[in-house]
């Protein structure tokens, strides 16, 4: 119970500005008892990254599936000065608009956004895919590995990462180029800084089970997987050989099937 704050004057006094939010969906055929699954695209990405493969697959397996873009991303409304709190607000707004209590799935930096949203919305369960929880150490190692992409981010420019960091070599070059061309919008400079220096997410409400999924060969999130999983009292589910963008990689089906199997387990 430690650390829980009942008096939230800042949140009461300064609600984030309303914004249009892009939400894509895929509906399972037949009556679905399964909870809705909401995929949250990471920094610099839009809901479409899930619409490529995972959304359909999730619906095929009987879960109502949704994917959203944070403000300033994809087809969501612009938000040049968005804060992490505004992104968290986006996630809780969409989650609460779904017909049933939802499972939240966050990718990359949006895994952190989802982890924060868990303190403001009692998710049925949560999955953190290739989580980037940021912090100063992670920022330095990103600088070391991808200086050309990272340095501009220090000045509030969008973080640009080489394709090689995001996808494995198994992805055909044409697909990789097509994905790169679809980027629209990105995290605000402010949010990028907050990713470096933020307080640890508050305790989740409603005690949801949390699964961490990633690839040990993901050069962005791979090294931190065990540490993130440990926070939630588990071990990460690993898919060696894949890049950071598990949902776009050539073997996209393995992780999503593993996630859905986990959700199907009784008690989840």
């Amino acid at each position: 119970m430690t650390g829980i704050r009942l008096v939230r004057q800042r949140e009461w006094a300064f609600p984030p500005a309303p914004v249009r939010r892009e939400v894509l969906s895929a509906t399972p055929t037949g009556a679905a008892d399964a909870p809705p699954v909401l995929f949250v695209a990471g920094f610099g990405q839009g809901a479409w990254v899930f619409a490529e493969h995972w959304l359909e697959r999730t619906a095929e397996r009987g879960f109502p599936a949704y994917a959203m873009s944070l403000r300033g991303h994809g087809e969501s409304g612009p938000a040049a000065k968005a804060t992490l709190r505004a992104y968290v607000h986006d996630v809780t707004q969409v989650a609460a608009s779904l017909p049933r209590q939802a499972v939240l799935v966050g990718h990359g930096a949006s895994a952190l956004v989802v982890a924060m949203a868990l303190a403001r919305y009692p998710a049925r369960a949560a999955v953190l895919v290739a989580p980037v929880f940021g912090g100063v150490g992670a920022a330095f190692s990103a600088l070391g590995r991808a200086p050309l992409g990272t340095v501009p981010a220090l000045f509030g420019r969008p973080l640009r990462l080489r394709r090689g960091l995001l996808l494995s070599r198994e992805v055909p070059a044409a697909d990789a180029r097509r994905y790169a061309a679809r980027r629209r919008g990105g995290a605000s400079g402010r949010a990028q800084w907050q990713l470096v220096a933020h307080r640890a997410p508050e305790e989740p409400v409603g005690n949801p089970p949390v699964l961490v999924v990633g690839s040990p060969d993901d050069r962005i999130a791979g090294r931190a997987l065990a540490a993130v999983a440990h926070r939630y009292g588990g071990a990460p589910l690993l898919f060696p050989g894949m890049g950071h963008d598990l949902m776009l990689d050539a073997r996209w089906q393995e992780p999503i099937d593993a996630i859905l199997d986990w959700l199907d387990k009784p008690g989840q």
Partner: protein
């Protein structure tokens, strides 16, 4: 201590009837906002819950279809969204700052569906009796269909009362009211502005409801008088660039001391509305925030346009008129009494909730029975902000507390004994302000801090 009396004593009052034991399940009375929230948070903590609701739908006061709903066609929230919603289920961004009552019903219905609460609710079922059994920690709850039917009794590990307190009209005793030949309505029976059209209306009561109805009368009635007992602080809906309650929170977040916040808002009113006595209103007889301020910006506008006349407290009714305490008179043909509601708990013995002559329960933390640790009342507070953020943490506290009775009764008993000794003070900023019939008033920050301490204590006890 349990065994010697449990079985025989429990059966005694119902020996003719069967008592169905629901084991560790918790009984929730009412499926308004507070009851729905109690079901959700108790289920989240792992309890089985049976909720009984006399009506056929959820939403309680906000469901205008209910006979006892106090809302009228034009009711809008007086508290803005962030201070009204449950802290873990936000209202949609595309709703207005101050939603309409029908939106609040939609919100509560969606809450019920989102968390799958309806399957735990028995609609059209009224709780007729709640009695402690055994050592006073378990409960026999007698229910019956709202439209009649055989009563049944079930036994529960705990009872959470969420029956609301805004449905039983408080009738003032004013001399001559019986002789008055015009029509007299309590605000609870007011539902639509058509009731006011072309009438000569006197609205009695300076609360939010009284102001709302006076504003409607200003637009519909032939004449409108608004009678208040004292001077109030009428706040506009917006201040400092945001909804007024959010502005108040911003100042508290900045840690401005109370005197400075008072000064700021008083200045704000002084440079906009100015001296209210020019409008015929009495000067406020208390400092701002000592009582709940009234959302009355629109009323002030109508006073300024002469479509509402401010009058003093009613001294007496005569056959066809009214006399006020300052000697003025008026001849209304319709009197609307917006004099509030009183809490009523027909199904328990008054001692269980510490109800005494004034009809107001005395509870520990304004939440738990002082004598029976597994009996709680959710939502029996009157905050200046919204009710639901407070109810949420109340029911979280109830759930934690009941968990502790289940997992570590000794520890729970020790905590309980400690609590019983501690003395209760009002959860308002100004302790004197909470006296005199306003005992349900709480300052949300003071009260939430008290709940937080209580939760931390329970957390440490785990």
């Amino acid at each position: 201590m349990t065994d010697e009396c449990a079985a025989p004593a429990a059966r005694a009052p119902h020996d003719s009837r069967e008592v169905y034991d629901r084991g560790e399940a918790v009984c929730v009375i009412g499926a308004g906002g507070s009851g729905l929230n109690a079901i959700k948070n108790l289920r989240e903590a792992g309890f089985s819950v049976d909720c009984y609701e006399r009506e056929t739908g959820v939403g309680g006061a906000w469901n205008w279809r209910h006979d006892r709903s106090p809302v009228y066609a034009s009711t809008h929230l007086v508290t803005s969204k962030p201070l009204t919603q449950f802290p873990d289920f936000p209202m949609p961004d595309d709703w207005p700052d101050y939603p309409h009552h029908s939106q609040l019903l939609t919100y509560l219905e969606r809450y019920a569906d989102h968390f799958g609460l309806r399957e735990h609710i028995w609609f059209g079922t009224e709780v007729a009796r709640v009695e402690p059994v055994g050592d006073g920690r378990r409960w026999d709850v007698t229910i019956r269909g709202s439209r009649g039917g055989e009563p049944r009794t079930l036994r529960y590990a705990a009872v959470v009362v969420a029956a609301g307190h805004n449905w039983s009209p408080r009738w003032p005793s004013i001399p001559g009211l019986e002789e008055f030949r015009g029509q007299v309505l309590h605000a609870s029976a007011y539902s639509d502005a058509a009731q006011l059209r072309g009438r000569r209306v006197l609205v009695v009561g300076g609360g939010d409801t009284g102001c709302d109805i006076a504003v409607e009368a200003a637009q519909q009635a032939a004449r409108c008088w608004h009678s208040t007992r004292r001077g109030y602080w009428y706040l506009p809906r917006y201040a400092l660039g945001r909804p007024t309650d959010q502005a108040g929170e911003a100042l508290r977040w900045l840690r401005l001391p109370l005197w400075l916040r008072r000064w700021l808002f008083a200045r704000l009113l002084a440079v906009t509305v100015g001296d209210v006595t020019r409008l015929g209103l009495p000067r406020p007889d208390h400092k701002l925030y000592d009582r709940r301020p009234v959302t009355g910006g629109q009323l002030v506008d109508h006073l300024g346009q002469g479509s509402v006349t401010a009058v003093r407290e009613v001294a007496r009714f005569t056959g066809d008129g009214v006399e006020f305490t300052d000697g003025a008179t008026a001849e209304p043909d319709l009197v609307v009494l917006a004099t509030g509601y009183r809490p009523v708990f027909e199904f328990t013995d008054p001692e269980l909730l510490g109800i005494d002559s004034d009809g107001c329960p005395r509870l520990r933390l304004q939440l738990f029975s002082r004598t029976h640790p597994t009996l709680a009342v959710a939502g029996l507070v009157q905050p200046a902000g919204g009710l639901f953020p407070i109810v949420h943490w109340q029911t979280v506290t109830i759930a934690r507390w009941l968990r502790l009775w289940g997992s570590d009764p000794q520890r729970a008993a020790a905590l309980w004994a400690r609590r019983r000794r501690g003395s209760e003070r009002p959860y308002t900023r100004n302790r004197r302000a909470a006296s005199g019939g306003r005992r349900l008033d709480v300052d949300h920050v003071v009260y939430l801090r008290a709940l937080q301490r209580s939760l931390e204590e329970l957390g440490a006890a785990r």
